[in-house]
Every structure is written in C-alpha cells, then in structure tokens.
Amino acid sequence: MYVAVKGGEAAIDAAHKLMAHERRGDPAVPELSTDQIREQLTLAVNRVMCEGSLYDPDLAALAIKQARGDLIEAIFLLRAYRTTLPRFGYAQPVETADMQVRRRISATFKDLPGGQVLGPTFDYTHRLLDPALMDKSVAAEPERAAAEAEPVPHVTALLGQEGLIEANASPDPAAAVGDITRDPLAFPAERDLRLQALARGDEGFLLALGYSTQRGFGRTHPFAGEIRMGEVAVSFIPEELGFAVPLGRVTLTECEMVNQFLGSEAAAPQFTRGYGLVFGHSERKAMSMALVDRALRASELGEETGAPAQDQEFVLSHADNVQATGFVEHLKLPHYVDFQAELGLLRQLRAEWDAARQPAADDTPAPMEAAE
C-alpha cells in the first residue's frame, strides 16, 4: 500500500541531526577548534574568504568546521552571511605597491629592486608524505630579518618606465564603483566587473580555463611578471569625517601577468597585462585569474576570439561555484510533476511509433527494409 512518498518535517530534522552527529566523528577524538582551523588550515581559510568574498578568518574557520571541510559549502555559508551585512560604503583602493611583502617573485627578471623573496611556499619541496606530521610536530624556528626598508615596485611599473607595457587605464575617481553583489551582471561586462566576478570565481574552474589558454585554446603568451603576497593597509573615508581612516590590514596575493602583443596599425608593439588579486595566500587562484583576465581581453585587443576562456558570457556565467553547485544539486529536488508529463509524452510517442510500424494485415514486410 502506498504510505508516503513525500518527505516530511520529521525526516528533515532527523537527517540534520544525523549530519551533525557525523560532523563530530568519533567522540573519542578531540573536537577540532575553529582556532586550530584558522591557524593550521590557513590556505583553506584563505580560499573560503576569497570565494566567499568576506575577509574574516574566524568566520571562515567556523564555516569550514560547520561544512565538515567541504570548502564550497563553507564558501556558501559565508556568502549567505555576507549578503545580510549592511553596506557602509567602499574602502579606498588598496595600494599593493606598498604591500609589506612576505613573498615576492618575478619570473621575468633574475633580480630587481626589492629582490626575489621566496617566503612560505610549497615550491621546490619534494612532495613526499612526511610521517613526522602523523604525530605532534614542532616546526623549527624560521630565519628572521628586519623588514626591508627598500621599496618593492611592481615589475610592470619598471616595464612601464620604458613604455614596453600598456599603461593601466586611469580610473575616474568620481566614477561609481561597479559591484556585482549589488547590481545584476549585464553583458558585455567591463573589466572591473569581470575582475570582481573572477576574484570570487571558483579556483578549480579558473585553473582549468587558465590552463586551457596555455594549451592553445586562446593563447596569450604569458609571463609571470610578478607574484607578491603580504599585508596591505585598508582605509575608508567616513562621510562625516571626509578623510581616510585606517580599518586594518588584509593579506592579499597579487599576480601580474605580462603578455605578448604584436601591436597594430594604431598601437606600437608592447606587452599587455593580465591581473589577478585575491584574499589571503593563493597563488594558484591569483595566477589563474590573471590568465583568464587577459584571455577575456581578446576582443578589446582585436585578437582572434572563440576559445572558451575568451568568452565572457561563458566564463562569467559559470565561474561562481555557489551558483553552480546549487543548480547542479537542485536535480536532487523532486521533479515528479514534470517527469509525469514526460512519462505521458513518452508513452504516447511509443504508442504512435508502434502503431506506425504495425503491418496492415495484407502487408508483407519488404525484405529490403529488413536488410537495412
């Protein structure tokens, strides 16, 4: 007998209770604290802050814990919180040239003002599992040095002195700030909006798109002009004060790609730029973003288009993993009524198909057709 195929409130509550139980795991193992997540799973926290578009390591750590380590779920939690926050205004643009650099490398110059600073990196490690980390580990004290007094100018600024790279557009300070979280995205989208969408876009998606440009689907001939990571000051001008007050510091990773450009009738040959900027320490994301940013400029620069990474509707409409995961997973929701409609149609089509092939009583099947 048909009892209940449709879900109920009690079932949902029980499922959520079970999920909370599974999240805790074996109670004999000490519970993970959000402090531990923030301090020891920093790169996960960084990714959640970046794609969650909210710089708050504590809340990101909480989201990761609540999401049982599912980072897209954690990003979703953070976004759903962020969107409810009142908007006081917009911070002043941060000056990454003044970054207190913890890592800064250039692949285009062996040495340069400010130097190459390796900083904390997985680069050049051998990816061998370290059994020592199975137990409590004590990290050796790192080397320490006084902060460099020498300024660390951008590589692109050095190239710009010779006019070898396109100048950045100088923004109109009076112009309104584009904001994809407050206005619907329309196409074609200008670069400020594209960069915003890329900054919160899915790391894996941008990685694959950036990679595709390297493999020939929209080649951009990139060089990693510079990647820098460190702290920058954020300031804000409250309307009632009229001058900038510091809000604090955020950790950023910035990537400036230097790309080939042959020049045209109107423009002398010069390098072009692709730009990536993300919260926290995430070079993979910053570099991917810079590659995709440059690819999306193809039509602006009069280049051949047609590759997926050059198609802004394709890239921007599918980069957001909160949107993507929601829509993919919505297929779990009931679709009985539409499926019922399809069932009815399919039965009708099959009946018509059968009827059309029912040989009339006096018909002999044509052997030619059978042979086909």
Binding site: Y2, I12, T84, P184, L185, T325, G326, H335, D338, A341
Partner: protein
C-alpha cells in the same frame, strides 16, 4: 570574534527588499518582460528556490498568510524547508489551504483551486529565458525579445510537429503575454498553463541564480504558443485520483510494487485533502 549574527524580518535587509520591490513593480508594468535584479545569496542553494524566496521575502508582511508548495504538495521536503525558513525569519502564519493563503510560493505547480484577487502566487524559476535552449547567449536573447524576434521559437515548435506530429514540450511550455513577450511559465506542466490566463491573482516569478524577476499582473492575457492547425492541448489523464476520485486535475503516478502496480493520486495535496474532508471518495 564576531558577534552572533542577527537577521532582519524575513531575512533580507530593507534596502535589498526595496531594490527587489522596484524590480517587481517594473515587472508588473511590463508583463512578461524579464527584469534584471541584483539577486542576493540566500541561505539555501541556488536552484532551490532562491528567486522565489527573495520575492516572497520582499513582499511579505507580518499579516500575511503563507503557503509553500513543491510539486503541488505542502509536505515535500523543499516546501517544508522554505515554509520553516519564513516561520523562523518572519514569524508569519502559514497554511496549507490554498484559499486561506495571501502568498503562495510554488515550485512546478499552480494549485487546482482557482485563485482570487488579493492573492499572490510566487513561482520559483530555474531558467527564466524561454529562448535559452535555442540560443545560449543572453546578449542574443535580450535582443530577440527587444525586437520581438521569435521566429526561432516558432521554428522549434514547427519542427516538433514535423517530427512527432505534435508539440513535444510537456512542461515549461512557452506562453505569449499580452501579445508581446514570450515567457517561460517556469517548469510547471503545460496542464497548468491555462490557469495563468486572466488569473485574478498576481503572479510573480523569481529566478535567483539568473538574476531575473518577471510578472503577470491580475487579468493578463496568457496564451500558450501553438498553430491554428495544431492548437495547444492540455494534458489529460484518463484516470482519476485513487484517494479522492478527482478528475480534471494533475495526477502523480505512484509505483506501488515491482509488478507494474501503479496508482494515480492528486499532485495538489491540499485539493485532495479538502475533497476527502468533504467526504468525497472514488
């Protein structure tokens, strides 16, 4: 550490609600036109009703009575979840009875009981663009709507007829609104399309992920696309509800055993319960 988050009435902040209401007003002024709006992240996933929830959150007041259905039923998991969301964030009265509700949020169905003036039906819409599967680019489809360039859609329907003898769209069946815009009725079965025409209730459509709102003001002409020699046909069931004996309603097929046993029951649970409450049985 940040203080415990506090949320506004019906979750969304008032600024956001005003922005959404402006979009809704514009949508009502241009029936069937998809108005872009700055959709917010909601605490439920995209594709699970965020557009409908934002519309409902923006129009709901403390005195409203809310009904939420999914697949026609009040007790489907997602309907339960959304109803609880508004119980929690807005503290409004909820109901399962169609006639009692001032706002009905729905996914995939229109209630069987006729709606009346003063009621608002809020649809959850996954893909608001009726031309999307014919043309993937938004820039193109917006142009097509602007120029009323709907040839592609008619060709698609014609090809259906040429291939199958009839139009093979059973749900999300496109409609023309007030003789102007072609509109996606959301993935409701085409059975429900005629209910949209000249409906006394306000019908609002919210697509969160796609950032679009559109509307049918009360008493709007809504015509399902067809051809003179191939008129629109409503889905008909040649059986009745096993519980209440209703005919002329949308039925869900229930598999009762592994030997081919089937049962058909009302998709609209409220309609079915009302009839059974009144003592009607098959």
């Amino acid at each position: 550490m940040t203080a415990a988050p506090a949320y506004n009435f019906a979750y969304l902040d008032e600024q956001t609600k005003r922005m959404i209401r402006r979009a809704i007003l514009k949508a009502i002024a241009i029936p069937g036109y998809q108005v872009p709006f700055a959709s917010r992240e909601m605490p439920m996933p995209y594709g699970w009703g965020t557009g409908g929830v934002q519309v409902t959150a923006s129009i709901i007041g403390a005195g409203d009575v809310l009904k939420v259905i999914d697949q026609g039923a009040d007790d489907t998991t997602n309907a339960v979840s959304i109803r609880k969301f508004f119980e929690k964030t807005a503290g409004v009265k909820t109901t399962t009875r169609t006639a009692e509700a001032t706002i009905i949020q729905t996914r995939h169905r229109i209630p069987e009981a006729p709606l009346s003036e003063g009621q608002t039906l809020v649809f959850q819409v996954p893909i608001p663009e009726p031309l999307r599967f014919l043309e993937p680019r938004e820039t193109e489809t917006r142009r097509m709507h602007a120029l009323e360039d709907y040839g592609l859609m008619h060709v698609k329907l014609y090809e259906d007829i040429a291939r199958h003898g009839h139009i093979s769209t059973t749900y999300a069946y496109p409609v023309k609104v007030e003789g102007r815009y072609i509109m996606d009725p959301s993935p409701t079965p085409k059975f429900d399309n005629p209910k949209m025409d000249m409906c006394p209730a306000l019908q609002l459509f919210g697509a969160g992920r796609e950032q679009r709102i559109y509307a049918l003001p009360p008493y709007t002409r809504v015509v399902s696309l067809d051809f003179e020699d191939h008129p629109f046909e409503r889905t008909r069931f040649d059986t009745l509800c096993a519980f209440c004996g209703a005919t002329g309603v949308y039925l869900d097929e229930v598999v009762t055993d592994d030997k081919g046993g089937r049962l058909f029951v009302c998709s609209d649970t409220d309609h079915c319960e009302e009839r059974r409450g009144a003592g009607v049985t098959p």
